[in-house]
Symmetry: none
Subunit: 229 residues, 2 copies
DNA sequence: GCCTTTTGTTACCGCCTTATGACAAGGAGG
DNA sequence: CCTCCTTGTCATAAGGCGGTAACAAAAGGC
């Protein structure tokens, strides 16, 4: 199971340290910062799987960071959990409407925050929570690095496996070649867009071995999508 | 925008009525029940997009319903929002660990619940939270790049897709050929005005395949408009 | 009713996008 | 050090798509 990567934005240093310790004990990778502007940088550079955001941090307000994360295409889909000392309903609603995926009201126990983070991750990226992905008749177990179709075990190369995993985490959705490069090869990889075609080809070959239908849909001038056949 | 379907499981009848009223005013379809066993039935038969579940309902405890919903493959992926009168941390964590996607602690305002439900839906099924365009009987999902009419999937080329999307974003309005060129082909494209006619033709052809009415209205000496038939 | 203007429709050709196989460089493992 | 596997790139083929022109049809204007 890969370690989910968390970005923790919290300017109360003792709380930040406590949380970092607890989350690392749970098997998370934690990147912490107390500064709002640095948070924006880290969010794009480190590509965290989830952001924990204090409502009030130095530099920028948490809600503003949230809004900026949502606006930037790179980070628009990263789930956000807000920490707020205020219990007022308006603030909570504003947080949710700004695009936070969840919030926790101080004071809270680390255990509760961990449960919420894990719930959000389970929802957004099942593979990170150790679950088995299943789309149509294809099953992918990220933990054991195994793919099966109708019980038949499939043989995929490393890149094809990551590509398939990403697709299965977002079934039905169309991704451009650029998006796929970012998601599967890593942001900033300097690779020809056309290379994606080749790996799509290899993935198709590996997946349709037993005469099964092709779950990869080509969307002309847009990219590719993965869906149940 | 399609109406998301909610299953509301709540045995406090006055609260249930209030919520049903408020959610319907927000454009949701609400199925309500006060009984736990009936809830299980409705969950499989009605295939709701989300379940709002009171912690304590007659027949079965909410948490038990939650567990059973998760266990059944049909309903395992339906998001669940729990309503709980108890504020104790243990209960909340137990709720999340059981598989609830969110919980709201009583007393709460309908507005807050609505915000949470909409946040969960946005996360889980973007198509239900507004990424889907709908005009008349035609649906366009930009995320999956799909167009359907009365359930029938339509086949459109890239340009026709963009043209239709633009039309559906501004239904009823008349656009000149020049405006369409700017919007769909991009500003500064050096293309014959009459080319638009051809693509309108192709769009019509693709959309009226199954004998449906033509939603594209020709406005002589002005341009074209798209409207519900 | 006749003429003019505007739109509908079809056909065609070139171009752009995608599919596919081959190949060489790089790396892991023995 | 050698071998096998993986991977990125390229060349080429195939096919769909798009823009244009030409002609037919329809709608207004008189």
């Amino acid at each position: 199971m890969p370690s989910p990567r968390l970005l923790l934005v919290e300017d109360d240093l003792s709380l930040a340290e406590l949380l970092q310790y607890r989350f690392e004990a749970e098997g998370y990778d934690v990147i912490a910062t107390a500064d709002g502007d640095e948070a924006m940088l880290l969010a794009t550079e480190q590509a965290p799987d989830l952001v924990i955001l204090d409502w009030m941090v130095e530099g920028t307000s948490g809600i503003e960071i949230c809004r900026r994360l949502r606006r930037d295409k790179e980070t628009a889909h990263v789930p956000i959990v807000m920490l707020t000392a205020r219990g007022s309903e308006d603030d909570r609603i504003r947080g949710l409407e700004t695009g936070a995926d969840d919030y926790v009201t101080k004071p809270f126990s680390p255990r509760e925050l961990i449960a919420r983070v894990s719930a959000v991750l389970r929802r957004v990226r099942p593979a990170l929570a150790g679950e088995m992905l299943e789309v149509g008749d294809i099953k992918l177990d990220a933990t054991s690095h195994r793919v099966t179709r109708r019980g038949q075990s499939l043989q995929l190369g490393p890149t094809e496996f990551r590509l398939l995993k990403f697709f299965m985490e977002h079934p039905g959705r169309v991704f451009s070649r650029g998006q796929l490069l970012d998601a599967v090869w890593g942001t900033g990889s300097d690779i020809e867009l056309r290379t994606v075609d080749v790996h799509i080809r290899r993935l198709r070959k590996g997946i349709t071995l037993e005469g099964g239908k092709d779950p990869v849909r080509t969307v002309r001038s847009a990219g590719y999508a993965f869906e149940a056949v």
